[in-house]
């Protein structure tokens, strides 16, 4: 069982991700945007962060670089949920310290398979 921080501004995606992860026995903390996630991450320890890229207030890429700067998140796997194939988002994400990405749309099985790579 891992403790996972799931960040997405879309309630339905968040529900889906959270439901899937909880179904697989993980402990999930949800956050609605980067600011919320950062607040929840501070002072806590997570085994994995899954974050959407396009979000109001603070986007996923900023979130990842902010988290990466925290000692507790120095080596924590962080995955971006992205639909943007152009590559530049992925590159930006990598540059910010993202471990990898999950390409939307994905189904629960794909999600579990992907997080299996880093847990």
């Amino acid at each position: 069982m891992a403790k996972i921080l799931a960040v997405d501004d879309s309630a339905s995606m968040r529900q889906m991700v959270s439901f899937t992860l909880k179904g697989a026995g993980h402990d999930v903390v949800e956050a609605v945007d980067g600011v919320d996630a950062l607040a929840k991450a501070k002072g806590a320890k997570f085994d994995l962060v899954i974050s959407d890229v396009n979000m109001p207030n603070m986007d996923g890429i900023t979130l990842i670089s902010e988290l990466r700067a925290l000692p507790a998140f120095k080596f924590t796997p962080m995955l971006m949920l992205t639909t943007e194939s152009a590559g530049d988002k992925k590159q930006q994400g990598k540059a910010a310290g993202a471990t990898g990405w999950i390409v939307k749309p994905f189904n629960p099985d794909q999600l579990l398979a992907t997080i299996g790579k880093v847990l």
Binding site: D9, S85, T99
Partner: protein, 721 residues
């Protein structure tokens, strides 16, 4: 793990509709030419969320459609494309189409394919027209890649069953992104028989060692029938963070295959982004938004089953409402207080010697209970309350569209959007409001030339304002147009016989004529368009909600339409009346006045029910004792009282025995437990526990009409006899 994605659809629809509303609002706020980046970003995000969600939850038609919008918005966001009025209009239209698509999907109806493809075509054309580089270059490039690699990868995969040699040298800082080579080795191990030879030559002396650096590299041989893409996928995330070569084991692959693999590699490396993805081309097509045409065709065929499932689920949904956490918390708070009061009272009840002191405490407790109950009632009501912005939202679009159509310049100002209103009232007030706003646009605001000629600014202003006043919510629609043409209204009313020639009317009464049934506003107030809005319908609908509407106007300055609505339909301001032994409730809004009966003014018109002469009007008398078959307290009409009520522009006088107080009553539906009774709209429970019926004034008026006509019939037959 498999489970039903449709369980998330409720949320998805809800947030998508919200997203569409946001898109619409922001699109309308967009300044063509110098668009605000944050606004475009907000629109983009909404489209992006809908696309992501619809793809995930199997609504591929929606995903494909949003994809094109998203691409367009992305280009605007990156500054590659100018924000033109045309683009904004097409995007607005797309928002409409999306809203229709989602509603149809939610209701399990068929999609309007013609309309969808029509608008999609417009979007495609727009895309193709603006930045040709993206479309024409990228799509074919991807296609070539598809053709080339697809072929060769399958070939090579088939012909190289024996294995691969992987040279894997992570960059020194690979661990910094949370990627651990051990995990990749573990994954490779799962693919086939793995032999790993580590290279420790780069590892520094123990004293020089940096624990955060990655200094090892590996040569890995994998045996088995493995596709190259599977291996590449393992390294997908780290391709920029390591040196990686993957070669087929020399002993097995033929020269031809090697060539093809090499070719595949060249092609796949030449295009951005990931070579890995090209091999699993189906996945790429659904996942990647960039190559428009291809993604569309490939993903439409996918997941039809999921879509079907989603449809089935939609029917089981009940209508829900979103309540802010604050309101729920407040309620919980209040329940807490209620519990405290209750326990205090029950403790008091257990007190053995019950004296004066206890009675004082009891009184205090009961007072507290009363306060708690009232507060709780208010708060429970507030749960059904939504900000009126839900209704106001649609107006910027309406004004935008209509002012374009009418060639007028109009600015819409909204205020008091956070004023809260009962959900049911909200749903029903939408149409009348649209009527009124449209009316102001159409008939109120003048065309720019006329405005300039009248010394007014070229741009007209329509102001929608909502606020609370007493127990009511007031909505004002103010325009700075020409105002109603009272002379024309009066002459029209005279000519159509609504007003008699010698009748003197105040300006207010003349303005009020536009709400009369049968009074057509077309060609009277304005000659601009032929659309005569039925103001009588507006007033009828608002009255049905227990509200009122009136108009104030000043020639040349504009008009103000004022709508007053009860905060909720569940509670009604009522006047208690007595007929015989029974108490009835008359809705306060319907009452015009209550008078003592002067029998000299009661006329029995031949063949008609009795009428009462009130000033210049003859008002039919409805004897409630007869209607409800109750024995009246007073036999003589002079001892009774007349309550003059109005509905749908008609007045009747209700004969009652006595008037009691005014009070707020909670409406209980009669139909749920009994059946519909003409003249009764519901029931309520009074303070003493007895049930009182609530009168339905328009029902009583139609009863009085029926009586009149049957009396007439009786009279004519008796005459004939």
């Amino acid at each position: 793990m498999t489970f039903d994605m449709s369980q998330f659809l409720v949320t998805f629809y809800e947030e998508s509709f919200e997203g569409l509303d946001i898109m619409e609002t922001e699109l309308l706020a967009l300044d063509v030419g110098e668009a605000d980046l944050e606004t475009i970003n907000t629109i983009f995000r909404a489209a992006h969320s809908i696309k992501g969600g619809s793809g995930t939850f199997g609504l591929n038609d929606v995903a494909n459609f949003t994809h094109v919008m998203e691409t367009l918005l992305d280009e605007m966001r990156d500054g590659k494309r100018d924000v033109t009025q045309k683009a904004v209009n097409i995007l607005l239209e797309s928002v409409d189409v999306l809203r229709e698509m989602l509603s149809s999907l939610q209701a399990e109806e068929d999609l309007d394919d013609v309309r969808i493809s029509n608008v999609k075509q417009k979007l495609d054309n727009l895309l193709a027209g603006g930045s040709e580089e993206t479309v024409t270059e990228e799509a074919p490039a991807e296609e070539t890649a598809t053709a080339g690699t697809d072929n060769s990868v399958t070939n090579s995969a088939k012909a190289t069953p024996s294995g691969w040699v992987i040279d894997f040298k992570p960059n020194v800082d690979m661990l910094q992104t949370g990627n651990d080579p051990v995990r990749m080795l573990r994954e490779l191990d799962a693919l086939g028989d793995m032999v790993v030879t580590p290279d420790i030559s780069q590892v520094p002396d123990f004293l020089m060692m940096e624990p955060e650096n990655s200094c090892l590299s590996w040569v890995i041989t994998l045996e088995g029938d493995i596709e190259k893409s599977a291996i590449e996928e393992v390294f997908d995330w780290v391709e920029d963070e390591c040196e990686l070569t993957i070669t087929a084991s020399t002993n097995s692959a033929t020269a031809v295959n090697n060539e093809k693999i090499a070719e595949a590699e060249i092609i796949s490396e030449s295009i951005e982004p990931e070579p890995v993805k090209v091999a699993t081309i189906e996945k790429v097509a659904t996942a990647e938004p960039e190559p428009v045409a291809e993604a569309t065709s490939a993903s439409t065929s996918e997941k039809p089953a999921a879509a079907a499932k989603a449809k089935r689920k939609a029917t089981t949904e009940t209508s829900s409402i979103r309540v802010s956490i604050d309101k729920v918390d407040e309620l919980i708070n209040m329940v807490g207080e209620l519990v405290i009061t209750q326990s205090m009272l029950s403790q008091l009840g257990e007190d053995e010697d019950f004296g004066e002191e206890q009675i004082e405490k009891l009184k205090n407790g009961l007072m507290q209970l009363e306060r708690n109950t009232r507060e709780m009632q208010e708060n429970v009501m507030r749960i059904r309350m939504l900000p009126i912005s839900f209704v106001f939202q649609r107006f910027p679009r309406l004004v935008h569209d209509l002012s374009g159509k009418l060639d007028k310049k109009i600015e819409l100002v909204l205020s008091g959007e956070s004023t809260e209103l009962d959900k049911t009232v909200m749903e029903k007030i939408g149409d009348p409001l649209v009527h009124l706003v449209r009316n102001s646009l159409d008939h109120g605001i003048e065309i720019p030339e006329d405005r300039l000629a009248a010394g007014k600014p070229e741009t007209g202003e329509i102001h929608l304002n909502a606020f609370h006043e007493g127990g009511n919510i007031v909505i004002e629609i103010t325009d700075d147009g020409a105002g109603l043409n009272l002379k024309k209204i009066l002459s029209k009313a005279r000519s159509s016989g609504i007003v008699s020639d010698n009748e003197k009317l105040t300006d207010e009464e003349i303005a009020d004529l536009i709400f009369r049934p049968g009074f057509s506003t077309a060609d009277v107030v304005s000659d601009v368009s032929g659309r005569g809005v039925g103001m009588d319908v507006v007033r009828r609908n608002i009255r049905a909600l227990g509200g009122t509407v009136d108009v104030k106007t000043e020639a040349g300055k504009g008009s103000v339409f004022t709508i007053r609505l009860p905060l909720t339909l569940a509670i009604l301001d009522g006047q208690s009346i007595v007929v015989g032994e029974e108490v009835y409730i008359v809705p306060l809004v319907a009452i015009i006045e209550s008078i003592q009966v002067d029998s000299s003014l009661v006329n029995g018109v031949t063949g008609q029910a009795e009428v009462y002469r009130l000033r210049d009007e003859y008002i039919p008398i409805v004897k409630l004792c007869d209607v409800f078959n109750v024995k009246p307290l007073h036999d003589d009409i002079e001892d009774g009282l007349l309550v003059v009520v109005e509905a749908e522009g008609k007045k009747v006088a209700l004969l009652v025995d006595d008037l009691l107080g005014q009070q707020q009553v909670v409406i209980k539906s009669l139909e749920t437990n009994f059946k519909t009774v003409e003249g009764i709209s519901g029931a309520t429970i009074l303070g003493d526990g007895t049930v009182a019926l609530i009168l339905d004034v328009s029902g009583l008026i139609s009863i009085s009409k029926k009586n009149a006509s049957s009396n007439k019939k009786a009279a004519t037959t008796s005459k004939a006899a």
